[in-house]
Amino acid sequence: MKTRIKPLLGLLLICLYPCLSVAQKQPVDYSKFSHATPKHKAACNTCHKITFPDIKDYPDHDACVSCHRPQFFRGARPPICSVCHSKTSPRDEARLPFRNPAAKLQFTIEFPHDRHQDVIALLRFAHPRPQNYYNCSVCHGQRTPAFKAVPTAHASCFNCHWKSQQPVADNCNGCHKLATPFTRAEPVRISSKFIHDGGGEKKQHVAECTTCHINITKAATLRGLKPDVPVTACTECHNKEGLRQDLNKELVALDKNRNFTCAYCHAPNVGNQDPPASHYLIAERPPLKRKDIK
């Protein structure tokens, strides 16, 4: 008897599953807009006005109303308004900043650094007028003394990709790929004391970017791209016979005191850790752990 009941129960569950899943289905939250919704996957210019030099604002109401009329005229505070508007009221037009920094990103960007290096990063005429030549600073301006910025608008792209150079302005998919919503990761800096422009005692941190960011010219995609700077990029100047001995000095200080904090390049969170083997290699010494220092 028991052996007959089990398959029957299984069959019953299979039959009831669609009904159960419908019953569990969450109501649609119209305050959250997703480009992944099948009906939102039309060509971008169906809703967005692609203007030069940048796409400046949210789509007009027409773009939404054509399908979402019931959600638009629902109560005094329709949730759908909060996708674009800071106040959900028919009497207030105030909108959230376009490219709302609080919202998760829905697209990744395909950017082949290698190809762009080939065509724009010549920098033959280096200083004093690097800004006038197409190089890394076309897209990467100064954000803070320590960090360069990444482009947040289209102007630097459209400069070439407006209408002639593919992917052109209305070929959004050429650069933007739909992704699971994510929050942009803040860059991590190991040597937090490094200052890009105007850094260095003689303001000589103006070498071209690829001198230190050695993997940029080979990167065909942004995926997995890290701004990896080897310590040799620093020690070419900062630990050179007859020039400076910044690394050696700190390793010597550490020899004398295992609790010494390496502070020339690092903040304490990094400076209190064991120096990596690469640092000892530069100093031509065998690597040491703090616990082994007497």
Partner: protein, 244 residues
């Protein structure tokens, strides 16, 4: 047990030692010129020995070479544009900004003047914007046709032997190939590099050992056989244009 084996394998894979090849490319345009770093040139690393890549090397040798000057002359480009590109060793108009003096005045480049006029109409008579965006109103061939031709030639060659990596030299002629598995590679520029009156092709065998580091002495590449140079290029006179 199976999980432990997998974890062990993963650890071995993660820790698999790789090497770094630090290139330094220095060239002499002619006997009177000083040695200088070859900036902004792309090099490729292809797995295998020279013998194993014989077919590729023969294809490199056989490929027809159209120099930058010849390409633009054939297009009917003005001397001013050809000189403007040559001045900064540019493969396309994107590699330098177009400054005011090249859209108006005695140094004006005719192609830029025409594109600038169109851009002014298009971008609301704003001179600064029109100048910065004038490349959008050049013909595709003038804009970057030469670069695209080169890319096509490169891709055709790379179909025969895919490169593991390609890097571009920096201002001083230095470049790094990183995370290389130990083994033998061919270092090549695939398409001859123009050096004034000559063109140079480099095809050299390189050994990469696990643990080779960027701190080690650079792998010197040059067009002249000098002390410490490990890869000497084959230099030939620059070919004449088909219409010359």
């Amino acid at each position: 047990m199976r999980l432990a084996c997998f974890a062990l394998l993963l650890m071995v894979l993660v820790q698999s030692p790789t090497g770094v090849l630090r290139l330094r490319v220095r060239v002499k345009a002619d006997d009177a010129s000083p040695m200088r770093g070859l900036s902004r040139k792309r090099f490729f690393l292809i797995p295998g020995t020279l013998e194993q890549n014989r077919a590729l090397l023969e294809a490199i040798e056989r490929q027809p070479l159209v120099t930058r000057d010849c390409y633009y002359k054939k297009l009917g480009a003005s001397t001013a544009l050809i000189d403007w590109l040559k001045e900064a060793d540019c493969e396309s108009v994107y590699c330098r900004g177009v400054e005011k003096e090249f859209v108006t005045g005695p140094k004006a480049v005719p192609e830029f003047v025409t594109a600038f006029t169109t851009s002014r109409k298009e971008f609301g008579n704003n001179e600064e914007t029109a100048r910065q965006w004038l490349t959008t109103n050049l013909t595709a061939e003038l804009r970057d046709g030469f670069y695209r031709d080169r890319q096509r030639a490169l891709q055709a060659l790379l179909k025969q032997a895919p490169a593991v990596q390609s890097v571009m030299t920096d201002r001083n002629g230095t470049a790094y190939f990183t995370e290389l598995g130990p083994g033998t590679y061919v270092l090549s520029n695939l398409i001859p590099t123009e050096l004034g009156k000559t063109v140079v092709t480099w095809n050299c065998e390189v050994q990469v050992k696990a643990g080779d580091l960027a701190t080690e002495k650079p792998y010197l590449v040059s067009n002249r056989k000098e002390k410490l140079v490990k890869c000497v290029g084959i230099e030939k006179p620059i070919p004449a244009c088909a219409t010359d």
